[in-house]
């Protein structure tokens, strides 16, 4: 009768998945993450902002070519959610064996809080030797290094001089007046001076910090130390006010692309590659990635953002990308071998080739006059740069407040004073 048939049907429906469950439970093994059971295979998570091949992908491939019996499973993870993603994974114990992190504690992916929480494995002497002297607190706790620096990244404007020339701009503007004048010219042609991914926190934040390099740190290089000591605040800082006001001015005077407040990373990639925008505040390493998608005449260069009147150009320069090992990893030896390999000259060479990022170990010795860094060779030589500010801040909430604040300024939701106040509140006592 019907009940009998229904019973059989339900039983049938349950049997199939039940068997599948048993079979697959057997197959998926002891929950090992690397999948193919090879003792030397491991996983690697890093941040990406576009669909182009990331330098880390290229490095992983190179390593696999050199070591054919090792498989690296890469997990490119969106840059705008990177911090919360890896934190969630670390806390649940599901993170990859090798994870890209950032120095300091001012970002959700900062290695200091992650190490303090016991999520990262201490690295060896190679890593320690690469840490730039003077910035040990950003990489080490109690003398142990938790992230191996990869790069020396310049935070300034990456601009396509080829696109600029095509639009009648032969030289990068050195004053704000010139800059605004160019903005007007370009808007008239339906283009923009800068591409901004307003909806992506990291870009909003980097833009603000890139501008703050000249407005704040050129004038008071010790701002961060003073703020930590409580001698000053963001709200009181005329430099920070000026920096944020500049962002509003840039928007009002048409320097960003239409719809910038809602733009994602693709706005930058497409804008720069297709020539609708001249430049963007992106890490210098991204220039090479994007150049691969742009025509050869694009000729990307790292240019300093014009200083305010009476000030000298100043850029951000520090290590932004560190490689860490998951403390819960079951493949620590394999991971450590990979991380060790990343410090070798051949790996650093490859890294430079595919990313344009200055290798941490070699940059002082390189001749940069023929590279994308040619415009700032002098600035670097003079030491007119500062570490990426948020690496030094005490917790990720301050940077988050800045990122969200910039977005709010672009859409008109907040005021400058409110943003700076939020940053101070986030700093804590």
């Amino acid at each position: 009768m019907t009940q009998q048939r229904r019973l059989t049907r339900i039983a049938g429906l349950l049997v199939v998945p039940a068997t599948a469950a048993l079979v697959l439970a057997g197959c998926s093994g002891s929950g090992s993450r690397s999948g193919d059971g090879n003792a030397d295979s491991f996983t690697f998570t890093f941040a990406t902002s576009n669909n182009l091949e990331s330098p880390y992908e290229a490095l992983a491939k190179a390593y696999m070519e050199a070591n054919p019996d090792i498989t690296i499973t890469t997990n490119p993870t969106p840059n705008d959610k990177y911090g919360e993603t890896i934190r969630t994974q670390f806390q649940a114990g599901n993170a990859s064996d090798v994870v890209q992190t950032t120095p300091g504690s001012g970002d959700a992916r900062g290695l200091v809080p992650l190490a303090e929480a016991g999520f990262l494995e201490p690295l060896g002497d190679t890593a320690t030797s690469l840490v730039p002297s003077g910035s040990e607190p950003l990489f080490e706790i109690d003398g142990k290094t938790y992230g191996q620096p990869m790069d020396f990244t310049i935070g300034a404007v990456v601009a396509s001089m080829g696109t600029a020339a095509q639009n009648g701009i032969d030289e990068w503007p050195t004053t704000m007046d010139q800059f605004y004048a160019e903005c007007e010219t370009l808007t008239g042609q339906g283009k923009s001076m800068l591409a901004l991914a307003g909806a992506a926190g990291p870009n909003a934040g980097l833009t603000a910090q890139g501008i703050a390099a000249t407005r704040v740190y050129e004038v008071e290089p010790d701002f961060n130390t003073e703020r930590a000591a409580g001698d000053t605040t963001f709200a009181e800082s005329t430099g920070w006010k000026d920096a944020l006001q500049t962002i509003i001015d840039l928007k009002d005077r048409g320097c960003f692309q239409p719809g910038a407040e809602g733009g994602g990373f693709d706005a930058i990639t497409n804008g720069l590659a297709q020539g609708t925008s001249i430049g963007s505040f992106i890490p210098s390493g991204s220039a090479v990635e994007i150049a691969s998608a742009a025509p050869a005449e694009a000729n990307f260069k790292v240019q300093p953002f014009p200083a305010a009147k009476g000030e000298k150009p100043f850029v951000l320069a520090s290590s932004n990308y560190t490689i860490s090992i998951n403390a819960k990893s079951e493949k620590k030896d394999a991971a450590a071998a990979f991380v060790e390999w990343l410090s070798t000259p051949e790996a650093q060479e490859k890294y430079y080739e595919v990313s344009g990022l200055l290798p941490i170990s070699e940059y002082k010795n390189l001749d940069l006059s023929d590279t994308i860094y040619s415009p700032i060779v002098d600035i670097l030589a003079e030491g007119s740069y500062t570490t990426l500010p948020n690496n030094v801040w005490p917790n990720p909430a301050v940077y988050e407040a800045l990122q969200v604040g910039v977005q709010g300024l672009l859409t008109g939701q907040t005021q400058i004073d409110q943003v700076l106040q939020n940053m101070d509140n986030a700093w804590g006592e």
């Binding site: 229904r6 969106p78 599901n94």
Partner: protein, 278 residues
Amino acid sequence: MFRYTKLTALREVGFWLVALVFLLPFYFLVTTALKSDREVITSSTLAPPSAPDFGNFAKVLTATGNANVIQGLLNSVIITAGSIFLMVLLGSLTGYVIARSTRRWSRGVYYLFLVAIILPTQLGTVPLYIGARSIGLTGSVWGMILLYSGMLLPLAIFLYAGFFRGLGTEYEEAATIDGASRTQIFFQVVLPLMSPATGTVAILAGLIVWNDFFTSLIFLGGSANQTLPVAMYYYIGSLVSAWNQIFAIVIVSMIPILAFYLFAQKRFIQGFAGGLKG
């Protein structure tokens, strides 16, 4: 008696138009997923693809790492099936006892479950998370099955209790007279009778588990055991805005549930409408 007038015909046509507009998003879904990388940037979003390109699906199905869709699909199947099984077992046993009991406490227990259905899980998520982590159940299939079953058990119990309340005890009486033990009565007499309720529980709870994202993200995100929604989230995240590829994976994620739905839609709808009236 009801006449099919011209007005009715007009109404029918009208609703078909409404339905078509309502389902327009699916049109965009399919047409965009079949466009090549070039075409998706250059062609108008409204236009259909000039030549369907299935390459996006190939890419989706061969993704690896955190974005491994096939793995996510298998995990979803296992976890959903396991959770349904556990819920049916515990839910029916508990619901049966509550419905058949005449003691006072059964009423209280019933309300206990009713409130638990409404109670949002957010507050308990962090403690559960920490508890699971300390036992080592995060990132594991069994941990998720236990978790989902626990989370949806009140719903299952509520449905079963309601069902058993309405079920007369004649069969059980007869079996008792025949000398069957209580356990035998349940598993041999009652179990077959409760298949409508089991169907409802399987569909309602199964759907929730299959589509769940938040809990799976937190407990399984990044592990080899993550479910389909999480794999999809990671895959799409890395794509920035390649809509054709994004929609390819969205379609892949929708196919299992849509196939099931179309196959058993009457059951689905009955389950939702009928089961919830309690």
